[in-house]
């Protein structure tokens, strides 16, 4: 339930108020819960686990509030970053994570790498994505599966917008190489 978009000024005002009184964090929790739950669920693919990790991410955000410094970026990206760290903590002993994606989610990526929108080609794209290391895979997920803009991708990964853009283009080039005939 996302009632309406919250602008950066409103978010900042809530964060400042929440620093003094944690109970004032509630509007952000209500506003971003669904977004964060879906972000986690796309990766965890389990509702109970997604709920636990989402709650834990909000708790960590509240505890980190005194150290939060606004840099003009949306709170959503900050929350995604915390949630991603929680997921990594949860998966620290796993060697492999399987992610289900729909045709709709990979459509943008398929267009970028010049892969035709056909079932066989999309499966080839999935196999090419399997070959990416964790960092490269995370970039692609944030940009194409979560639909974040480059500024948000950068904020989630702790890099600048330009760096996020440049690295994404490099990963796309790697994917094109993997998809080229004979590789």
């Amino acid at each position: 339930m996302v009632a309406r978009n919250m602008n950066a000024t409103e978010e900042l005002a809530i964060l400042e108020a929440a620093k003094r009184d944690p109970a004032r964090f509630a509007p952000l929790y209500e506003h971003y819960f669904n977004d964060l739950f879906r972000f986690v669920h796309r990766r965890a693919q389990d509702r109970e686990l997604s709920s636990d990790i989402t709650q834990q991410a909000f708790l960590k955000a509240m505890l980190a509030l005194p150290r939060y410094e606004p840099r003009g970026l949306p709170v959503r990206a900050w929350l995604f970053r915390i949630a991603l760290n929680e997921l990594r903590m949860h998966w620290r002993k796993r060697k492999e994570v399987l992610i289900d994606m729909s045709y709709r989610e990979v459509k943008g990526l398929a267009m970028e790498v010049g892969s035709p929108d056909k079932e066989d080609e999309l499966h080839r794209l999935a196999r090419a994505m399997d070959r990416l290391d964790e960092q490269k895979a995370r970039l692609i997920q944030l940009r194409y599966m979560d639909g974040l803009n480059y500024a948000e991708v950068g904020h989630v990964l702790g890099i600048g917008e330009d760096a996020a853009k440049m690295r994404t283009h490099r990963v796309l080039a790697v994917l094109r190489t993997y998809l080229s005939p004979g590789v």
């Binding site: 669904n34 879906r38 997604s50 492999e96 994570v97 399987l98 992610i99 289900d100 994505m129």
Partner: protein
């Protein structure tokens, strides 16, 4: 850790709706967990509390004193043991 992908027309089988996600939203639980966590975070360590620190020092000194007294009250126990061990 490696990611593996499975691409299908529908994607994740059990994509939750807004109403279903709403069931997991629990601001009260978050507030309770926050108070519990912040209590733990801001709890003063025992050694930084002057009263607890003095109490700890007194307990350690008492233990040392009792050990000394007991050691003096039972003289010769160690030499006897030594004699038994010696060939």
């Amino acid at each position: 850790m490696k990611y593996r992908y499975r691409i299908s027309p529908e994607g994740r089988a059990d994509e939750p709706t807004d109403a279903e996600i709403g069931k997991y939203r629990d601001a009260e639980r978050l507030r309770y967990n926050y108070h519990k966590a912040s209590e733990l975070l801001h709890r003063r360590p025992l050694y930084k509390d002057p009263k607890a620190f003095i109490a700890l020092v007194v307990i350690v000194l008492l233990a040392l004193f009792i050990a000394e007294v007991l050691d003096k009250e039972t003289p010769g126990s160690t030499p006897q043991q030594d004699e038994r061990i010696a060939p």
